[in-house]
Symmetry: C2
Subunit: 267 residues, 2 copies
């Protein structure tokens, strides 16, 4: 499925990656290569990769895997002909024993032959489909980050990886919420359908105006908060075990792929 | 699509219709011929049929047409090989100038050569799909009629036909509401996706415990009311113009067709 790149998207994505690789774009990637799938990165030593893969298999809504590399492999041909995982993201985060130690623009100084890269779907893809359908996506219209919350919904744990599901929230009128459920159900590889809607306290959220990550957004009286599984979940879970070494993308600084967003639709 | 009867359903439906035609079953049809599509009937003089057809075309969610006959025609071969509209429903309602004048078991005494029959999809089909997925359908588990409400949502009117959308309500936990939206979206010919969820006052419903038709059902603290367009809408609308003559099925006494419920699924 993911090699089914769309005409037009591959060229756009390659141009954006070239710009990033050459240092010509250092900020967040929202708005770059419209129509192309952007993805989260989780890079782990091979010793932890097997268990993280199992965690993703058991929690496909927060951890929809688009690709997993072999140890040391920094190409991902299924997602883009010339992708170089070490250079194609504008800003990385390097973690040691669970502490953030650097935010480099490439991984030349830290790359290791035992690193396995997990490329994980991101809500940008379904948000593009929502916007295309005329639905107001609040954090986008407000120009802020999506609000995210640690919920009381448990993930399906592995031997050492476990923790709460992190959810993102988009407030909508009921009519738009119904339509958004239809639209996002078509995109299982980028979090899919919501996990909850309505009363936030039913999933352990005390104050909708105080997100644990991202920014608060306005929720109007005629709106319902709608909650999706969030790609921050795997980061939050992995960091509870304080791995000796790991790398992620910096928030909002995503890997741009040759895959068209619409090609992820399941029907 | 509707001639694509499923093996097993045709035989079951034909047996049920034979029983009804012979007077062996005179009550509601819920539970008869499981898996087979049951349908609402609206029978009108040809003089009003054109405008009613236009109303249905403009309001497909409350008025999903499965078939429309020629004037005087009492067979519907697309929905069942031997259907006789005059005999195959256990109880009819005959209306003159908007007043209920009789509830006969067949139409032999009142049939006219100018009558056009509209066969309209019914929520039984999607409720079967919800139950099959393990979702509690409250009025079914309580053994009562579905609660229905005149909403403040207008229908798309024609020259003389207009009025509010009537909605049916099923309370659900958020998780089940999300799943129910996915399931019912697959059934556009039996009302399809909900039209509203959450706050009833946003669609003009003052008291969820006082439905305008049917029976009240319990709505628990962790549940959201979910509202679907209802097949009572066309009856309510047509009766505002007090047609000289019309016939409907009696509530719950439906036409059983040879079409399998699952064959209505759009994907």
């Amino acid at each position: 499925m993911h090699s089914n790149s769309q005409d037009g998207c591959a060229a756009l994505a390659q141009e954006s990656r070239r710009l990033i690789r050459q240092g010509g774009h250092t900020g967040p990637t929202a708005g770059l290569a419209p129509g192309c799938v952007q993805a989260n990165l989780m890079i782990l030593p091979d010793s932890l990769a097997g268990e993280f893969l199992l965690f993703c298999q058991r929690n496909p809504k927060p951890c929809p895997l688009l690709a997993v590399t072999e140890p040391g492999q920094y190409t991902v041909p299924a997602l883009g002909r010339d992708i170089d995982i070490r250079k194609d993201v504008p800003k990385y985060r390097v973690w040691r024993h669970g502490e953030l130690v650097a935010e480099p623009a490439d991984l030349d100084a830290v790359w290791r032959d035992d690193l396995v890269t997990f490329v994980i779907g991101c809500s940008f893809s379904f948000e593009e489909a929502l916007l295309a359908d005329g639905i107001d996506v609040r954090h986008i219209s407000m120009g802020v980050n999506v609000p995210m919350y640690r919920s009381s919904i448990p993930t399906a744990g592995t031997r050492s990886l476990h923790g709460p599901l992190v959810v993102s929230m988009r407030p909508m009128k009921a009519k738009d919420a119904i339509r958004a459920i239809q639209i996002t159900s078509r995109f299982p590889s980028v979090h899919g359908a919501p996990v909850h809607l309505g009363d936030p306290s039913l999933i352990g959220i005390r104050d909708i105006h105080q997100p644990d990550y991202g920014d608060p957004v306005a929720v109007h009286a005629d709106e319902i908060p709608v909650f999706w599984a969030c790609g921050v979940t795997p980061q939050a879970v992995i960091h509870t075990v304080k791995p000796e070494f790991s790398i992620t993308h910096a928030p909002g600084h995503m890997l741009i792929t040759d895959v068209g967003n619409t090609s992820l639709a399941s029907f």
